[in-house]
């Protein structure tokens, strides 16, 4: 048991990543409103970003603005990936929201189960 607690306290940010991703996954599955599904997708993505940024962190490290001879730095590479991924995430969200607007204007509802019925009846 102490081993489990030890694991969780030393890998606390990774545990947070798992929980946040699970909540995002829950929103994608369980909420019926399309906008909330998109919010859940965003939350899942931010969980992944947290994972990358945590893997780059170093105790006693400084932000990766390098100067000669200064102390240890955190790793810049996962941060580069996350920077790109955040912008790609907002692009994805914007297209998803445009699709939502279009779906609403065509079918008059934002609920996924109602949409399934309506589209299934056509």
């Amino acid at each position: 048991m102490t081993d489990f607690l030890g694991v969780v306290t030393t890998r606390h940010a990774y545990a947070l990543f798992v929980l946040v991703s699970a909540i995002g996954l829950y929103m994608m599955i369980a909420n019926e409103n399309l906008v909330k599904k998109i919010i859940g997708l965003n939350m899942f993505q931010t969980g992944i970003f947290l994972f990358f940024v945590t893997s780059a962190y170093r105790i006693g490290g400084a932000a990766p603005i390098v100067e000669h001879g200064a102390g240890p730095y955190v790793s810049p590479l996962p941060q580069v990936i996350v920077l790109t991924a955040i912008v790609v995430g907002i692009s994805l969200t914007a297209v998803g929201l445009a699709l939502t607007i279009r779906l609403y204007s065509a079918y008059g509802t934002l609920r996924a189960d109602a949409l399934r019925e309506v589209i299934g009846d056509e």
Partner: protein, 253 residues
């Protein structure tokens, strides 16, 4: 204008479901206008600073582009989305994004034409070293700055602005039969929309219940379809079926 609009808040209490549905996107609020007028110059300066100093301090093209786009978003909140778009002119937004891609692609692909690798900034040295007076290794720094500022910041700012205006404009129905409810966001300017249909214009000041941003059939079924969008209601499926039959939504593109 009805007093509801002067609240400066388009999100009202959810008790009246029909009123909560369709609201104008812009309402004149003195607080927002004054704050925005005071704050915008500083935000724009800060956004430009972050873009230009991307190589020496935290920042760069992504953050700076997002900040510059947010300046335009704030102006749109304070003074109306349609008027901001008219002021900015669609051309500027489209040109900003396209120019960004062109600059980035140009700077990146020309070295390949010169025989070097992709995005090899030092390949410019034989060409431009004398005219610009730069040493070989300095080309990397200035090439990076050019790509960050002229490429990434332009693209991100242009596309975020464009997405904002596109989402605010909403869906344009392409069918001829669908005349009402073009989806133009600002109902105060409904008389300028290209479909020119009258329902929005005549209803603009009258009653929020019948203002419909997106869909003619929703307007006619304003009473019925609200049941279908109520999350707490479990027989939405049957109501949605009824709405669909009444509105013929499936036939429209």
């Amino acid at each position: 204008m009805s007093s509801d609009r002067l609240n400066g808040d388009t999100r009202d209490s959810p008790t009246d479901s029909r009123v909560a549905r369709q609201r104008p996107l812009y309402s004149e609020s003195q607080v927002i206008m004054t704050t925005v007028k005071a704050v915008i110059p500083f935000v724009l300066t800060y956004g430009l600073f972050i873009t230009f100093h991307g190589t020496s301090s935290p920042g760069g093209g992504f953050q700076g582009g997002a900040l510059i786009a947010s300046v335009v978003l704030m102006i749109a909140f304070a003074f109306g989305i349609e008027s901001t778009r008219a002021w900015l002119s669609n051309t500027l937004v489209v040109v900003l994004a396209t120019l960004g891609v062109a600059i980035f692609a140009g700077i990146a692909l020309v070295p390949m034409l010169l025989g070097e690798n992709f995005l090899d900034y030092t390949a410019y040295y034989p060409l431009l070293g004398d005219t610009l007076g730069l040493k070989k290794y300095e080309f990397v720094k200035y090439g990076m700055e050019a790509v960050e500022i002229g490429g990434i910041a332009f693209i991100v700012a242009g596309v975020l602005m464009g997405l904002f205006f596109a989402l605010a404009a909403g869906m344009t129905p392409t069918s001829e039969t669908n005349t009402v409810g073009d989806g133009i966001g600002d109902n105060a300017n409904a008389d300028t929309d290209d479909t020119g249909e009258v329902s929005d214009a005549t209803d603009a000041g009258v009653s929020d219940d019948t203002i419909d941003d997106s869909d003619t059939d929703d307007a006619t079924d304003a009473g019925v379809s609200d049941d279908t969008i109520d999350d707490s209601d479990t027989d939405d499926a049957t109501d949605a079926g009824a709405t669909d039959d009444a509105t013929d939504g499936g036939d429209r593109q």
